[in-house]
């Protein structure tokens, strides 16, 4: 409880100062008052509008993340363990990793149109990289003594992989997932801001409200993205703590 209060102290005081300044007319018109944003959010929540936009956005980002993270982790783990797989994927990943993934959105739009698919594919491609790299590094950094010990105890190669390399790489994988999660939200917003087919999604709402001069609505949508991102990261951390409960507290994500 005390910790929760301490953690909330800074954001709450920022909001309070913001409110006071806005009430005194010291802020430009496009920075709506927190109370106005709150009222708008409440209104949007009650009418269900924001829930619909959030659901569409979450569907796009989480589907993309699921595909990207799963394929990245599996291929990263396999590349770490099996040399021929690494020889195939490592140069490919190293070469394409520096390309800003948002730059391929036009290509995807030509391919899939302004659809959910082009957004999901973009998010999947983007989140693939941090997951692949983290899983790969995780396996490469496994202590050789663990592998020796496993082989000494009669483990087959597949058992060494599943019972040593995979669990030992988990701390790295969790780190990669956190980065991927943040990227999923960034790319979700960017791709929705560039264009959506059926006028849905939080990114669309932000741009739509901005062009209409509805700054309270715009900031409400931004706040919702922030809240969802925060909640998703916390959920991931809770799950990670369960999976990594074998680690000393200080090393935990």
């Amino acid at each position: 409880m005390r910790r929760a209060l301490e953690a909330l102290a800074l954001p709450l005081s920022v909001i309070a100062i913001w409110e006071v300044l806005a009430a005194a007319g010291a802020l430009p018109r496009y920075v709506s008052r927190p109370s106005a944003i709150g009222a708008e959010l409440w209104q949007l929540a009650r009418s269900g509008d924001i829930v619909e936009h959030a659901a569409v956005s979450l569907y796009r980002s989480m589907t993309g993340l699921l595909i990207g993270a799963l394929s990245g982790i599996v291929l990263g783990l396999l590349s770490g363990a099996i040399r021929p797989v690494a020889i195939f994927f490592d140069p490919l990943v190293a070469f394409t990793n520096p390309v800003p993934k948002i730059a391929i959105l036009p290509v995807l739009i030509v391919w899939f149109g302004i659809t959910d698919t082009s957004k999901i594919v973009l998010i999947a491609i983007t989140t693939f990289y941090p997951c692949f790299l983290a899983a790969y590094a995780g396996v490469r950094q496994v202590q050789p003594a663990w592998i020796w010990a496993a082989r000494n105890m009669g483990a087959r190669a597949d058992q060494v992989f599943l019972k040593v390399l995979v669990p030992a790489a988990m701390p790295h994988v969790v780190g990669g997932l956190r980065i991927a999660l943040a990227l999923a939200f960034i790319l979700m917003f960017a791709s929705e801001a560039i264009g959506t087919a059926h006028r849905a999604g939080l990114g669309f709402l932000v741009i739509f409200a901005e062009s209409g001069g509805r700054f309270d609505l715009m900031l409400s949508a931004i706040a919702t993205i922030g809240l969802l991102g925060f909640a998703a990261d916390r959920l991931l951390l809770v799950a990670a703590r369960r999976v990594l409960r074998w680690q000393p507290e200080v090393f935990r994500a």
Binding site: Q143, A145, W146, W148, W246
Partner: protein
């Protein structure tokens, strides 16, 4: 003879250089014998253990354990590593039962066996702890229980107590002796501690400086069981001094070579 090493050599290639770590070593160990190996650091005694474990391939010579030629790692030769190599993501009991799990034995049986060996090393109440929650001496005992649980014919121990403080180390030596007398495993034990080698061993094998050859093979005829007080006896002292004199020349030679 359960362990037969015949004219085994091992060379490592480091860049342009060839380094001979083990040179023409022959050694036989009988069933249930406790053999300790001492030598100056870098003399290849650990390398010999890794060769027997099947982790390295000999450049020449053959090794047999229980009649089978050693070619790769296997659970007939249980290795206790210098840094123990416990799996940090497994509980104590998960570590001890790991080898049995790999063999596909049912969970019930695994837990029973793990429990039995944790009892033997006095750690039953810690079966659900994770390795990072244990002290150095407790981790050693978990590693020993893990080793005994898959019932290898030969135990290969590579300076297992090297990282312990002096008091814990003595306790572990006494404990290992007690456990050994209960299980009567064949043990090859590498150490750089002469007291430890004499206290634990039926035989002490002294290695030369690199390239490692066997310089002497000394029978330790101290009666068993050996309480820790044995270390104060004159018989222990005589053995100890004997090994020390043999080793001294080698340590000096190794040092001269390093600074040359």
């Amino acid at each position: 003879m359960i362990v037969e090493v015949e004219r085994v050599s091992k060379e490592f290639v480091r860049g342009e250089q060839r380094v001979r770590a083990v040179d023409d070593v022959s050694l036989s160990v009988g069933q249930g014998e406790f053999v300790t190996m001492v030598g100056p650091s870098g003399c290849g005694k650990s390398t010999l253990l890794h060769l027997l474990g099947g982790f390295l391939e000999a450049s020449s010579g053959t090794m047999r354990v229980a009649g089978n030629v050693v070619s790769r790692p296997g659970p007939d030769r249980g290795m206790m590593f210098q840094d123990l190599a416990l799996f940090p993501w497994r509980t104590v009991s998960g570590n001890v039962g790991w080898a049995l799990e790999v063999q596909g034995r049912p969970a019930r049986e695994r837990d029973e066996i793990a429990e039995r060996y944790l009892q033997l090393v006095g750690l039953r109440s810690f079966k659900n702890a994770y390795p990072h929650e244990l002290s150095g001496g407790m981790k050693q005992r978990v590693a020993l229980a893990r080793l005994l649980a898959f019932d290898p014919a030969v135990l290969l121990m590579d300076e297992p107590f090297g990282s312990l403080d002096a008091q814990t180390r003595e306790l572990m030596q006494e404990e290992l002796q007690r456990i050994w007398s209960e299980t009567r495993k064949t043990v090859l034990f590498v150490t750089h501690d002469i007291d430890e080698a004499v206290y634990l061993g039926d035989r002490v094998i002294v290695f030369t400086a690199r390239p490692g050859r066997i310089k002497a093979d000394i029978q330790v005829d101290l009666p068993r069981p050996r309480p820790i007080e044995v270390k104060k006896s004159t018989a222990f002292f005589d053995h100890r001094n004997h090994v020390w004199d043999l080793l001294r020349d080698e340590v000096l030679r190794a040092r001269a070579e390093e600074s040359a």
